[in-house]
């Protein structure tokens, strides 16, 4: 039972941790691209957006418990938290595809 709970706790924070890393990475790439005038700035930002969303999609589709293990309150919560993290990622990162990146 400890293993199920441990896994659920890790999954509970996994989605939003990925979201946070993606958020910081995109903000940093936006600033660096503007400071050093990267020619492929938009493409890099969109690429980073996709790279951030892939693990979020994986986590949102992942079954919270392994075969034969009982689902707990925590594992169901983890699934919903990860789906929320995916929605947050799609919404917050979307502007990198169309908004002007530099002043």
């Amino acid at each position: 039972m400890s293993g199920v709970n441990q896994r659920a706790l890790v999954l509970l924070v996994a989605g939003f941790t990925v979201w946070s890393v993606g958020f910081v990475a995109l903000y940093a790439l936006q600033a660096l691209g503007c400071a050093y005038e990267w020619p492929q700035h938009r493409a890099i930002l969109i690429g980073a957006d996709v790279v951030s969303l892939l693990p979020l999609i994986w986590l949102a589709m992942m079954k919270p418990v392994r075969e034969g293990e009982p689902a707990t309150s925590l594992s169901v919560t983890a699934l919903w938290a990860n789906r929320a993290a995916l929605a947050s990622g799609v919404l917050v990162f979307l502007p990198v595809t169309f908004v002007s990146a530099c002043i």
């Binding site: 659920a8 925590l74 917050v92 502007p95 002043i103």
Partner: protein, 827 residues
């Protein structure tokens, strides 16, 4: 058969606090929680008094009541006191008092740290208030923007009071954060898995996690600004390669999560109170946990919405605008869960519910104006106007003060053992509710009419007169309401009617203690077999008081409680907590000497104060631990577990891990600052490359890595039953040598006051040197504990701690030197 009276007397003798001067030695969480709350409420009264002066000044146009200089100090101190000296310590006090009782433990994980945190809070807060009384209070606004707060524009000690006083106070916040985090994970009643924890446990777990990563940026910012003010290192001076925006980033990286750090504990109180009065369990337990986690993360992604008008690209505006609006969703999930709980239950109205209703009205308005301000075009219009003042008061008073008052009325019987007579509480509520809305709703209008915040007066022909007058009248009505609440609480304490256990028919464990509670909380610890907000305290309480349960006895006159598996809540080890001592008080006084020496610019005294503080801390563990392996011991209920010193995942190891994560966040903020200046700050063109000897940096890194490897070897040798001492000595020597080299490199940095690049390199190397020195100290401490006989193959905590700190020091010195090298080449 246990004799309950005898057990009570024996436990009270061990856990109790003596009278007279002995009270100052208390480390008991019940005593310290109450002290925190009383001091926080005293600061609240001071902050409230200041707000009266503000409203008196603004009541009429062209007012000459206090003048701009004093007014600047008063509004700065009002914000500072309310945010730092009232809101956070108030919830710390509540949690320190309540958490062990709710989770089924006898105290917090580190009682002496609780006491040390309290003294730091009291002393640091007193510095600020004394400065106010002598007219030297901070006057640059509660967020202390540079360059206004820099030495040329604030030359006195006013800004230093803020930076040093608050950093002193923040010690209590960071110690509380670690303690709350570890106590929740390790000190629950047996059987209380994470999935059975009451929701307030989840709220506090996330809040303490947020504090662990949220406070370090502010602490770093305060250190850097004080270094600039005291030693002229130009981190924020744009003429020498610094940037005032770095201060804003560091401040708001803390400042926005801070709002949620204040709101989440209050929401935890609501999630506990509402089911009691709805007479049903909370709706959406799992959704609320997911919402808390989402809020915990999303709240960090909003900090730039305080900087929408500083001139940043559209893309950054879009990021932070979207995240700012998005955080309303998990907030709304909780609000709908609370409304649903009330709608599907059988609500009974009582005083706490009045304040819950007040919360719903006020906080929802604050949330809606928050979504408005998250939108960039509207924000640009309303920025730094009274609309923002109105919004933040609706959020903070709605989100913290109203739930706090609900909580006070709900839990006061637990503290006092008496229930309110309710003669004054109803008019008090209406005065507060009406007074608050009269004061602050009108500020939305003055803000929309263009009145900027922080002005000390205004002309009479701009249409703001009657709105300000009504706001001021509302403010005085609000104060009358708080005075009535105070009178009501005093009357309750003195004349309230006594009651038997669990007056509200709540279903959480704190009501299973005696009221007022005994210093040990539970004569025996319960086993929880269901979700811990569905218990029957009135039935459990007498059973536990009779000594039936875990640890329902006294062993060797020690303060014992249980440590459990973090996930399942199964008993794992017996935690022996330290007894009362004056050490935390002396250590806090030693710490105060450092801050006072800095404040009065007696810098030669600082190293003595720092060494005295360090020496005091080294005295703390001298009698902790055991000199022999004991193996599993009886804990009652037919079960046996070992003592904590023989457990690998004990609270000390986890707390040090948490402290290192906090430290790592501070270091990451420093690295971010270095990169920010390199990429964004003006006046970096044409700076000559710096020629630091590369060999010294490389050798320092190699020595630090060798020190970490030797400490790992010491740990492995100890685990295998071998001799660890030589490896620890080697580790300490290697770390000390690395320190010497890094200090040597610091001396070679050309004029750190000349340019921000030099100042940052100097600071980075200083950070690395400090941590290799700490690594050396931890290895030496491990050796000292071996000599004292506190370490064996099974008792290996000190070996693990030495390895953790040395590993961190090696990583920190590697990154420090790497970043310093990168900056050295910048031109």
């Amino acid at each position: 058969m246990t004799d309950p009276i005898r057990l009570h007397k024996e436990l009270s003798a061990i856990w109790g606090t003596p009278g007279r001067w002995g009270r100052l030695s208390s480390v008991n969480h019940t005593v310290l929680g109450k002290r925190f709350m009383v001091v926080a409420l005293t600061f609240f009264a001071i902050g409230g008094f200041l707000s009266m002066l503000i409203r008196a000044q603004l009541a009429t146009p062209n007012s000459a009541f206090i003048g701009p200089e004093i007014y600047n100090q008063i509004f700065t101190m009002h914000g500072t006191v309310m945010m730092f000296l009232f809101a956070i310590p108030m919830f710390e006090g509540f949690v320190i008092y309540m958490l062990p009782k709710m989770l089924g433990a006898r105290d917090m994980a580190f009682p002496r740290l609780t006491a040390y945190g309290f003294w730091c809070y009291l002393f640091g807060g007193s510095i600020l208030i004394i400065a106010l009384l002598v007219g030297a209070a901070p006057d640059s606004g509660w967020f202390m923007y540079t360059p206004l707060s820099s030495r040329p524009y604030t030359p006195g000690i006013n800004a230093d009071v803020w930076l040093l006083g608050l950093t002193f106070v923040e010690i209590s916040a960071v110690t509380a954060a670690i303690e709350i985090f570890i106590s929740i994970l390790k000190m629950r009643a047996p059987g209380m898995s994470l999935a059975r924890m009451p929701l307030i446990g989840w709220y506090m777990l996330v809040t303490s996690g947020m504090m662990i990563v949220g406070f370090p940026p502010l602490i770093l910012g305060a250190i850097l600004l004080e270094l600039e003010r005291a030693f002229d290192l130009p981190f924020f001076d744009p003429t020498r390669g610094g940037d005032p925006l770095l201060w804003q980033h560091l401040f708001w990286l803390f400042g926005h999560p801070e709002v949620y750090i204040i709101f989440l504990p209050a929401a935890g109180a609501l999630s506990t109170i509402i089911p009691v009065f709805a007479q049903r369990t909370i709706l959406g337990y799992r959704s609320i946990i997911a919402a808390i986690v989402a809020m915990g993360f999303l709240s960090f992604g909003l900090w730039v919405h305080h900087m929408f008008t500083v001139g940043i690209p559209h893309l950054a505006l879009a990021f932070f605008s979207a995240a700012s609006a998005l955080v309303a969703v998990p907030t709304a999930i909780q609000i709908f869960a609370w409304i649903g709980t009330l709608a599907s239950g059988r609500p009974r109205w009582d005083i706490p519910m009045l304040y819950v209703a007040g919360f719903f009205c006020v906080f929802v308005i604050g949330g809606l104006t928050g979504v408005m301000l998250a939108m960039v075009p509207f924000n640009t219009q309303a920025h730094d106007s009274y609309f923002v003042v109105a919004h933040l008061h609706y959020v903070l008073v709605g989100g913290f003060v109203f739930p706090m008052l609900a909580g006070i009325y709900h839990w006061m019987p637990h503290i006092s053992g008496r229930q309110s007579l309710y003669r004054l509480s109803v008019p008090a509520f209406w005065l507060i509710f009406v007074g608050f809305n009269l004061t602050f709703f009108l500020m939305h209008l003055t803000g929309l009419m263009g009145m900027p915040r922080r002005i000390s007066t205004y002309p009479s022909n701009w249409g703001w007169d009657w709105l300000n007058l009504l706001s001021s009248i509302g403010g005085f009505i609000l104060t009358m309401g708080f005075c009535l609440v105070l009178a009501d609480l005093v009357l309750q304490w003195r004349f309230g009617r006594r009651y038997r256990r669990d007056p509200w028919k709540a279903q959480t464990l704190e009501w299973a203690t005696a009221t007022p509670p005994a210093p040990y909380n539970f004569a025996a610890l319960p086993r929880v077999d269901r979700r811990a907000d569905m218990l029957e305290p009135a039935e459990i309480g007498p059973v536990l008081a009779g000594g039936t349960g875990y640890l329902g006895f006294v062993r060797d006159g020690e303060q014992e409680t249980l440590g459990v598996d973090m996930f399942t809540g199964e008993p794992e080890h017996v935690i022996v907590l330290p007894r009362r001592t004056f050490l935390p008080l002396w250590t806090a006084l030693a710490t105060a000497s450092v801050f006072l020496a800095l404040l009065f610019r007696q810098y030669w005294l600082v190293p003595f104060g720092a060494l005295l503080t360090l020496g005091m801390f080294l005295l703390w563990p001298r009698t902790l631990g055991r000199r022999e392996d004991t193996g599993p011991v009886d804990i009652g209920m037919g079960e046996q577990v070992p003592f904590d010193v023989e457990s690998k995942s004990n609270a000390s190891v986890l707390a040090n891990l948490a402290a290192l994560i906090m430290n790592g966040t501070l270091f990451t903020s420093l690295l971010f600052g270095a990169l920010f200046l390199l990429v964004i700050a003006p006046n970096w063109d044409g700076v000559a490359p710096m020629s630091l000897p590369l060999w010294a940096g490389v050798v320092a890194i190699v020595l630090a890595i060798a020190g970490a490897a030797l400490s790992w070897l010491a740990r492995s040798r100890n685990a295998a039953g071998g001799e660890a001492m030589p490896w620890l000595i080697g580790s300490a020597v290697a770390m000390a040598a690395a320190t010497v080299l890094l200090v040597l490199l610091m001396t070679l940095v050309p004029d750190p006051t000349g340019h921000a690049r030099n100042a940052v390199v100097f600071t980075l190397l200083g950070y690395g040197a400090l941590h290799t020195a700490l690594g050396a100290l931890m290895s030496a401490h491990g050796g000292w504990r071996i000599m004292q006989g506190y370490v064996s193959t099974r008792r290996s905590t000190e070996m693990t701690l030495a390895w953790l700190w040395c590993f961190y020091a090696a990583a920190a010195s590697l990154l420090s030197v790497a970043m310093a090298t990168l900056l050295s080449a910048a031109a």
